[in-house]
Amino acid sequence: KRKVSHLILATTTSVENSGLLNTLITSFEKEAKVKVDVIACGTGKAIRLAENGDCDLILVHDPEAEKRFVREGYGIDRRSIMYNDFVIVGPRDDPAKIKGIRGVIPALSAITHKKASFISRGDDSGTHKRERMLWERAGLIPEGEWYQETGQGMGPTLIIASQKRAYSLTDRATYLSYKKKITLDILYEKDKLLYNPYSIILVNPERHAHINYKRGIEFIDFLISDKGKRIIREFGKEKFGEPLFHPIGE
Amino acid sequence: MNPYAIRTHDLSKEYNGEAILKKINLQLERGRIHAIIGPSGVGKSVLLRLLNLLEEPTSGEIHFDGRALKENDRLELQRRMTLVFQKPVLFNTSVYENVAYGLKVRKENRRSILEKVRKALEVVDLKNYEHKRARNLSGGEKQRVAIAQAMVLEPEILFLDEPTSDLDPRNVAIIEELIKYINEEFKITVVIATHNMFQAKRLAHEATFLFGGRIIESGKAQEIFTKPKDRRVLRFIEGKMIF
C-alpha cells in the first residue's frame, strides 16, 4: 500500500529543472509533514500517469489537454497557479529580422518567408503544442529543410538551436537557466498569445480511491497561499535578475 | 551375485550416421583384468565411454550385475565405477583439488579426503605436487594425477584408457603394480584399453580384440596371445615387435 505520508506529483521537466518546485516543496514539507515525491516527465506522460492513477497531482502547462483531462473525469480542482511566458529566441544577427516586429504571427511569417532555421521541440509538450497552435493561427505549415524537430526537452532543444544558429520557441524560465550555455537572444516577446499558465490538477479520487486527496488539497492550498505566492514571485530574482514565474491572482 | 560385472547386448554406436561399434556383445567377469585391444580408431575409447555411461549407445543394452540399466540408478552406478581418460582432462585447479574431487562430490569428510589424497599422490610419485597447478604439469605427471584421481575412489570397476602411454619405464612399473595390487586385494574389476601389447600380456586375464567395429576374438589372455584363432589378431600381435 502506498504510504499516506507521501504525495506524488507528476510535472513537466521545465518546472522541475528550474528548481522552483524544490523550493516550494521544501517549504511545504516543513509545515505539512508530508513528503512530496516529484516525477519529472513530459506533459503527455504526466497526464498518462494521472489517468492510470499513478500520481496524486499533476502540474502542467497545456490548457487544451488539461481541459480534456478534467472533462473526461480524470481530474478535479484544476487551478491555474502561476504563469510565465513564451519567447522566440534566435541568433544575435536575427537573419529574419523579427526583432521589433509587431506580433508573434508576423514574426513566424518572417521566419517562414526567409526559410530561416527554426528548431521545434516536436515532443507534444505544452511548449510544442503552443508552437503548433501559433503556426495554425498564422495559417502556415512549417515544412522543409529549415524546420527541424528535436523530440527532446526544452534545454537540449535550446542547445541544438544555439549550435545550429536557429530560432526556437521557449518558455522564459528555461531560457534564463540556459542563457550562459547558449548564444541565443530573446528576439520576440510579450504577445498575448505567448501567455503560459501552469495549472495544478488533482486526480479524481472517484476514479482512483487510493488518491491522497486530503494532502493534495493541502498542497494546492499552500501553493495559492500568500506564502506560496511569495516563494513563486521571489524565485530566481537573485540569480537571473528577474523572476522566472509569476503567481496568478496577484 | 552375478558373475559378470558388465554384459553388453548388441551394443552399437554411430556418429553422424557412421557406425563405429557394431553389435558388441561383451562379458566382463567380476574381479578380473580385461584388455580391450585393437588398432587406432577402432572404437576402444568409445566403448569405454559407453560402459561408463558417459554416452548413450545408438542401440543395444548394457547390463550391470545382470540387470539392465535403469535411468534412476545412473548416479549410484556411476559412483561404483570410474574411467581414466586417454588424454587426462584435469580441472584448472591445484593437483590436490583434482585428486580430491571425486571424494568431495561423495561428501566424504575432510580428514579422510586429506589422508586418501596424500596417500594416492605418494603412490604415483607426486608427493610434493599438492599445490601445483594441474595445467602446468608435464605429460606424465598429468597422467599420474588422473590415475590418482580415480584410485582414491576405490571403485568396483576401473576403466583405464591407455593409462601409461605418457609414462617412463619406472612409472609404468609403479602403475602396473598398483593395478595388479588393487585387482587382487580389493577384487576390483579392471578394464584396460591399450595398444601396448606388452602391457596387455603382463596384466590382463582376459582379452578382447576389436576390428572394424566388431569383436573378432575374445577369451583368456594367455590363449589369445599365444595361439590366436583370427589371422588379423595374429598380425596385430606380431606387430608388437615394432612397438
Binding site: 500500500k1 506524488i8 519529472a40 534545454g155 | 558417459l54 559412483r79 574411467l83 580441472f91 571425486g102 562430490v105
Partner: protein, 230 residues
C-alpha cells in the same frame, strides 16, 4: 577541456563535502544494482549453464532469444513493468511503483538474459571433456555443472561485470518505474540525466566520474581477488 576539468573539480568537491544527498544517491545505486545483479545471477547463470550444457529441442531458439535481449531497450522494459505495477495494472495493489523494489525488478529483468547469454557462451567454451570427467568421477548433475562453471570462472565473472554495467548505467527503466524521486529512487544514472537536462554539464560529468571511479574500484577489487586465487 575546461568543462572536463571543472567536472573533475566538482566531482572532488561533491565527494569531499560529504554532501548527504550525493552519498544517498551513490549508495542507493549500489544497493539497487547490486541486488539486481545478485538476483539476476541466481537466475541467469543456471539458465546459461542449462542451455549451454544440454542438447534439447528449442535450444537454438532460446539461445537466440537470450542474445536478442541485449537489444532490449531499457525504456521498453521500464514500460512493461510500469504497466504491471501501475495502479491499473495486475500488480498495482503491491504499491511497488516508484520504489527501489520496482527498480530492482526492472534491473533484474534487464540483467538476467545478459548474464544468461554470456554464461552460456562461457560454459560452451569449456572443454566438453571436463563434463565427462566430472561425471565419471561421480559428480551429480548439479556438481558437474558447478565444475564446469568453475572452469569458466573468468568468463562468468565477465558476465557479471557486463550485467552490473548494464543496470547501473541504464536510465530508461529507472526513470519510468522509479520516477527519479529525490531521496527515494534517484540513482546515479538518473541523476546524471537530470543534471544534463538542466544544462548542468559539470555536475553531470562529476557524477559520471564518481560512477566510473566506483566501477573501477569494484573491477580492480575483482581482478585482484581473481589474481590471488589463481
Amino acid at each position: 577541456m575546461d568543462y572536463i576539468l571543472a567536472g573533475l573539480k566538482e566531482a572532488l568537491q561533491l565527494l569531499l563535502s560529504f554532501d548527504r544527498e550525493t552519498y544517498t544517491i551513490i549508495f542507493l545505486s549500489l544497493r539497487i544494482s547490486g541486488t539486481a545483479v545478485l538476483l539476476a545471477s541466481c537466475l541467469g547463470i543456471p539458465l546459461g549453464a542449462l542451455v549451454g550444457l544440454h542438447r534439447f529441442p528449442g535450444r537454438g531458439v532460446i539461445t537466440t532469444i537470450l542474445n536478442t535481449c541485449f537489444a532490449l531497450p531499457t525504456v521498453v522494459v521500464g514500460l512493461f513493468i510500469y504497466l504491471f505495477l501501475s495502479h491499473r495494472g495486475p500488480l498495482g495493489m503491491l504499491g511497488l511503483l516508484y520504489t527501489p523494489g520496482a527498480m530492482i525488478i526492472a534491473q533484474t529483468i534487464l540483467a538476467t538474459p545478459i548474464i544468461g547469454a554470456l554464461s552460456l557462451v562461457a560454459v560452451k567454451s569449456v572443454d566438453p571433456a571436463i563434463t565427462k570427467s566430472a561425471i565419471s568421477l561421480g559428480a551429480t548433475r548439479i556438481q558437474t555443472t558447478l565444475a564446469v562453471l568453475r572452469e569458466a570462472r573468468v568468463a562468468i565473472l565477465a558476465a557479471l561485470i557486463v550485467g552490473f554495467g548494464r543496470v547501473i548505467t541504464e536510465i530508461g527503466a529507472a526513470m519510468i518505474v522509479g520516477g527519479n524521486i529525490k531521496g527515494t529512487t534517484r540513482v546515479m544514472s538518473t541523476a546524471i540525466a537530470l543534471e544534463t537536462g538542466k544544462g548542468k554539464f559539470e555536475l553531470a560529468l562529476a557524477l559520471g566520474i564518481i560512477l566510473l571511479t566506483i566501477a573501477f574500484l569494484i573491477n580492480a577489487g575483482l581482478y585482484y581477488l581473481q589474481r590471488i586465487r589463481e
